[in-house]
Amino acid sequence: MTTAIQPGGGGGLDRPSPTGLADVIDTILDKGLVIDAYVRVSLVGIELLTIDARVVVASVETYLNFADSVNRLQIGDNEPKGLPDLVNDMQRGGARAKTKGAIEAAGQKLQEFLGGDDDRADARPRRGKGDD
């Protein structure tokens, strides 16, 4: 089996595609072969992202966030909003949107580095002779 396959298209989900930075960090920093002979070069500039991508803890903060989300959800579902609720929502929404923006910007930046699918096609490897 030596044929290079193309990412599929269409459908309601993301197709096989270049991965986001978080996906890459998840995968290449703590997986893959390590052989003692290698000199491991120190990593710079990614420590925070690494930690961020890997930590899921059921912390008090997580719980409080969930409680807030439930609260917002029920306000949205059950009651016409008064001005204080709206302001409150907007403030919270603003903070959340900011965080998300930063994460997505990192992903977008990576997409630029990856250059999308087109670049991948240029440099497609091939097998020199048939295997078996």
Partner: protein
Amino acid sequence: MSTANTSGVYVYGIVPADVELDDGFRGVGEGEVDIVRSGELAALVSEVPPDRPLGEPEDLSAHARVLDTVAAAAPVLPLRFGAVMTDQDSVASELLEEHNDEFRAALSQLEGRAQYILKGRYDEATILREVLSENQNARDLSEQVRGMAEPTSRQARIALGEFVSTAISSKRESDTETLLEKLRDLTEMINLRAPTHELDAVHVACLLELDSQARLEELIDEFAEEWDGRVDLRLLGPLAPYDFVTTTRPGAGDQA
């Protein structure tokens, strides 16, 4: 052992010796990816200056891009990010020859296969409504919280949040298991990854025949449809088999 090097050799992974690359295939630090061969094995490498720190986002993505591009066409043993050797000779002798048997055995097992990653993330509002609708306790707790002033409600909010968090964890387990039941029809080589976000629904890596990718996509389509609006499902791949190579501990060989 040479000491006065003007550059180092970054090593991406191990491939069969018959793999060829087009010119202009750029890797870490824009170095051109080259192939070092020894017998039936080859290493994907590129030159890096020895004093250049590695680990910038573009370095990480270059490492993954080189390996994943190759993985779509040939078996590859991915090295963990950041492996640098002194020169191409040492790659041939200390890496390829030294581990000839195990690398060849591993590559033959990987022939025609690649890794895929399935990632699902719950839609927060949808999953919270689901939890509330299924649990009287959660509804009671949330009513309680809403009737209280902010400072005094802290304990109640923590209790509500913990309940929700536990409920989502158990949904994650059961949704993941539902998906795994179907995935096992395609492959037994599955690595359950730890969640990386509190709203993760599914995080699974699998090793699959490249020929079966269409079947995997169909499977994911079915789940995406069934979970529409509830779980945002993504399929990544083909990727190098990062989750399915293990570091060998050379028993007698000392690598110091």
